[in-house]
Structure formats: C-alpha cells, structure tokens
C-alpha cells in the first residue's frame, strides 16, 4: 500500500473511531440533557408570556437559541467527522486511480486528512465561545483545504479517465 493510500485509510479509520466515540459519548451524556434544556427553555418562554413577564420570556428565548446553537454544531461534528472519515477510506482505496505526481498525491492526501480533522474541530470550538473568530477561521480553513483537495482529486480522476480512454482507443486500433 502506497504512503498516500496508507495515510488516507489510517486517517479515515482514526477519524471514524473519533467521530463514533464522540457520538456515543454525546448520545449517553449530553444529548438528552441538551434536548430537555432546549425544549424546557422554549416552553418556559411561553409560560412567562402567559404570565405577562415579557423580559423573562425574551430571556428564555435567548437561552433556547444558545442551547440550539450548541446542539446543531455538536450533531454536525459527529456527522461530519464520520462522513469525512468514510470519504477518506474510500479515496484511500482508489487513490491509485488519481493521476498526479508522487509528491502531489502525498500533498493532496495530507491536505484532505488535515482538513477533515480541522474543519469539524473548528465547528465544535464555536460552542466554547459563541461567534469566536478563531473557531470560525479554523472551520473555514478546514473547509477550504478539503474543497481544494477534493477538486485536485476530481481532476486527477479525470486525467486517469482520459488516459484509460486513450489506452482503450489505442488497443482497439491495434486490434483492428
């Protein structure tokens, strides 16, 4: 197994285990409590409204929004880490079909693994401090890295398909 393939497969497996462990931890220790808090604060907002306590009602809506902000990102991290892990492993299996230079293949594989780890990490760090610019920057950096690497891989596949078509047409020519 070549080094870029090994990097993609091992990186994918590590990320899959990380994402699944995070999901399990989240499901057991965090999710039920978060959902209770989210539902509770929204219900409380309406109860305060029924009691004509507008300030408390608005405060409860803010609490609901804050909890939901975290919830969306926590679920996103779980699904994106696992999704990207699967992508890494699949690409690891077919990476020999990507027609790029040896060095280019290693760079693309490294960028994809790094971006796949960093992008969800940036997303989850947004829950530590809402709207933190370093967390958003990390998520954007990870997204850009994965996107560029994916585009390079698509290009590499296209070059491989071109080569295959040329081989097929030349072999047909020699047969004729």
């Amino acid at each position: 197994m070549s080094s870029p393939r090994r990097l993609l497969v091992v990186g994918g497996l590590v990320l899959a285990v990380l994402g699944t462990l995070y999901g399990l931890h989240y499901a057991i220790f965090v999710e039920h409590q978060t959902l209770d808090r989210m539902g509770g604060s929204l219900a409380q907002a309406f109860v305060h409204a029924a009691e004509r306590n507008t300030a408390e009602a608005r405060g409860a809506v803010d609490e609901y929004a804050s909890t939901k902000y975290n919830y969306v990102r926590q679920v996103d991290v779980h699904s994106h880490w696992i999704g990207l892990a699967m992508l890494l492993i699949v690409l690891g299996a077919v990476f020999d079909n990507v027609v790029l230079s040896k060095r280019g293949r290693m760079w693309v594989a490294s960028a994809l693994v790094t971006g796949s780890f960093v992008f969800p990490l940036g997303v989850i760090l947004q829950t530590v401090s809402h709207g933190a610019s370093y967390a958003s920057a990390l998520a954007i950096l990870g997204t850009a890295t994965v996107t560029i690497a994916l585009a390079a891989i698509a290009w590499g596949f296209a070059r491989g398909a071109d080569q295959m078509t040329q081989i097929e047409s030349s072999s047909m020519g020699s047969t004729l």
Binding site: T20, L21, G23, A45, F46, S79, L150
Partner: protein, 365 residues
C-alpha cells in the same frame, strides 16, 4: 447472458460466506433499507409532522395570550413528543444508511486486515447485526419511552441503540487492530480487490467525486451565508410571537407561518447538502462492487445511470420544495426511489454472481 467479469481472479476475492461477502450484502441491504425507510418517512410522516408542530405552536401562542400557563405546558409536552417522533425517524434513516456505507467501506479494507478468517467473519456478522439494531433501537425510542426503565432519562430503546452503537465501535476497533497488524507486516490471507477499469467503475467514481464536491461547496455556502442568518431570524420570530401573544394585538398566525417557512427552508437546504454528498459516497462505494455484479454490460450501465440520475434528482428537487412545494417533494421522492431500484438491481447482480460461484465450487450443494 454476457458479462466481462473475469471469473477466476474475482472469485478468489469473494469466497462463500467470507467476511467481504457478508459486508457487501449487509451493506447494500442496510443502505437500501435505510433509503426506503427515508422515502416512506418523507411521504407519510415529514410534512404531516411539520404541520402538527406548527398548529401546536400556534395553540401555545394563543394559550399564552389568554394567560393560560397550564395549557402552554401541556402543549409543549405535545410539541416535545412531535419533535422526538420526527428526530428519531430521521436518525433511524441516517444511521441505517450510514451503517451500510461503513459496511461497504470495511469490505474494501478486508485485504488489509490481518486477522484470522473466522474472526473476520464473526466481526462482519456482528457489524451487520449492530447496523440493523442501531436504527431499530432509535426508531423505538419514541414508542417505548421510559417504560420499565431503571434509569431516569434513558429508556430501553435508547439502551438498545447505544449497545448497538458500542458494538459497531468494537468491530471498527478490531478492524483497525487488524489493519495495524497488516501495516506491521502480517499477512491478511486475502487477495486485493480485482482491478477494474470498466465504464461503470469510472462513471461511478468520477460522478461520485463530482457529487461530493458539489455537496461540499453547497454546504460551505450554506454555513457561510445562511446558517447564522437563520439562527438570528428564528430567535427574532419567536420573540415577535411572544410579544404578539402578550400584547394581544394579533399577528401570531403570521409569526407561526414565518417560523414554519424558516424551519422548512433550513431543513431542505441541509437535506440537499447531506443527500448529494451521501449519494456521491454511495456511487464511489458501489464502483468497487461492480466486478461482482453478474449482469450484462447494458444492465450494469442502466443501473449506474439510474443511480446517478436519482442522486441528482433527489437533492435538486428537495431544494425546489421551497418554491414548488409538494410537487417538488414528490419528484424528489421519485429520485430516491430510482436510487433504491438501482441498488436492488445491483444487489440482484451480486446475488447472481455469488450463486454462480457457489454452484461451480459446490458450496450450494
């Protein structure tokens, strides 16, 4: 029936009841089952559930405007039940499909997993069992609740789902251990997957990569442009709704309608993003299975075209639901059905292939 599958090398990689065969059969069945469940959910539950939630929210606003806090609490208990009903069904669909993807992935890795064959078969069986039990447990959470549970917050269905999830993790860890042994020089006792450069494989690989890239770009655009705006708008609508309730000036119906539209907009955008990526991944995974699809080239190409066509139709028309409503939803469901039909077609091809192999080797007797 004509096929360009070269029997001897490919057959060596697909031994009767081998771990790879269990992973491939189990994976395709889990994906097709998960997608069928998703299609049924989209047609019979999704919109009805959304409508009921909107009505309940309006009822809560009206109860608040009349100062009836007891009714508000009761309505929110009902809303909680509706959201749990919706959430667990989405989760069951996602987890069943994703377990299928993981099964196909691990099938790919079998030549690099240095473990005894019997253990590999056991791991494959456990993985497929876990992949089935996890969505079943999630689906039952809404119906079983906390009945007879010794815990304050976690019911038996949750325990089933968590146990199945833990089983999947154990299998993945064991496979990772086998991979680690292989990388250290141990022999896996299995041949590499057959190298195949057929039209089907190339089309699925390049089509899958493009779908993933498009989905990724769309997701980045959504996160950058829409997500924060949606979150701020949701908070504002809820505050407006509460203000309208407390002031008694009316307008609650408009605010609830805005809330519903916003929720629908967010849901279809996220669904389009996730489905286009998942279908891209599925196309890439199925490219590896093509040497085992024992069908004529013409039928193999039909299934590939149908799969990629459905993979484009579903996410595109899910997005159009914002403007075209249920018509677009119906077309999206047809797109999902095309993918399921293509999957079943390929599964039939794989079953024919394994049947022919077993008949030749005498296993079938």
């Amino acid at each position: 029936m004509s096929t360009h599958v070269t029997p001897i090398p490919t057959a060596d990689t697909f031994a009767p009841m081998s771990a790879r065969r269990i992973f491939i059969f189990g994976g395709i069945v889990l994906i097709a089952g998960g997608m069928l469940f998703g299609d049924i959910f989209a047609v019979f539950v999704l919109h009805q559930n959304g409508g009921q939630t909107g009505q309940a929210l309006l009822a809560a606003a009206e109860a608040a405007s009349t100062g009836n806090s007891l009714a508000v609490k009761q309505i929110f208990q009902h809303i909680g039940g509706l959201l749990e009903d919706h959430g667990t069904k989405v989760d069951a669909h996602v987890h069943m499909t994703d377990a299928g993807y993981l099964a196909l992935l691990v099938a790919l890795l079998q030549p690099y997993v240095a473990l005894p064959q019997r253990r590999k078969k056991l791991l494959a069986g456990l993985f497929v069992a876990g992949g089935l039990l996890l969505p079943v447990g999630i689906f039952l959470i809404h119906y079983v609740g906390l009945a007879y549970s010794p815990f304050a917050r976690i019911g038996w269905a949750s325990l089933l789902a968590d146990t199945a999830g833990a089983l999947l993790i154990v299998v993945l860890l064991a496979e990772a251990y086998g991979l680690w042994k292989y990388l250290r020089g141990d022999d896996s006792g299995e041949r590499e997957l057959p190298t195949d450069s057929s039209w089907e494989r190339r089309t699925l690989l390049s089509g899958g990569t493009i779908l993933i890239l498009v989905g990724f770009l769309y997701g980045a655009w959504y996160a950058g442009v829409d997500l924060h705006r949606h979150e701020a708008r949701e908070t504002q609508i809820l505050k407006n709704l509460l203000d309208a309730s407390t002031s008694g000036t009316g307008g609650t119906v408009v605010e609830v309608a805005s809330y519903g539209s916003l929720a629908a907009e967010g849901a279809v955008k996220i669904a389009a993003h996730s489905h286009v990526i998942e279908f891209g991944l599925l196309a890439m995974l199925l490219s590896f299975v093509q040497p085992y699809v024992y069908l004529s080239d013409r039928w193999k190409r039909r299934w590939v075209t149908l799969l990629l066509g459905g993979s484009v139709i579903l996410p595109v028309f899910v997005l159009f639901e914002i403007n075209l409503g249920l018509l677009a939803g119906a077309i999206a469901d047809v797109g999902g059905l095309l993918v399921i039909i293509a999957l079943v077609g390929m599964l039939v091809g794989v079953l024919r292939y394994s049947g022919s192999l077993d008949a030749v080797s005498g296993v079938a007797r």
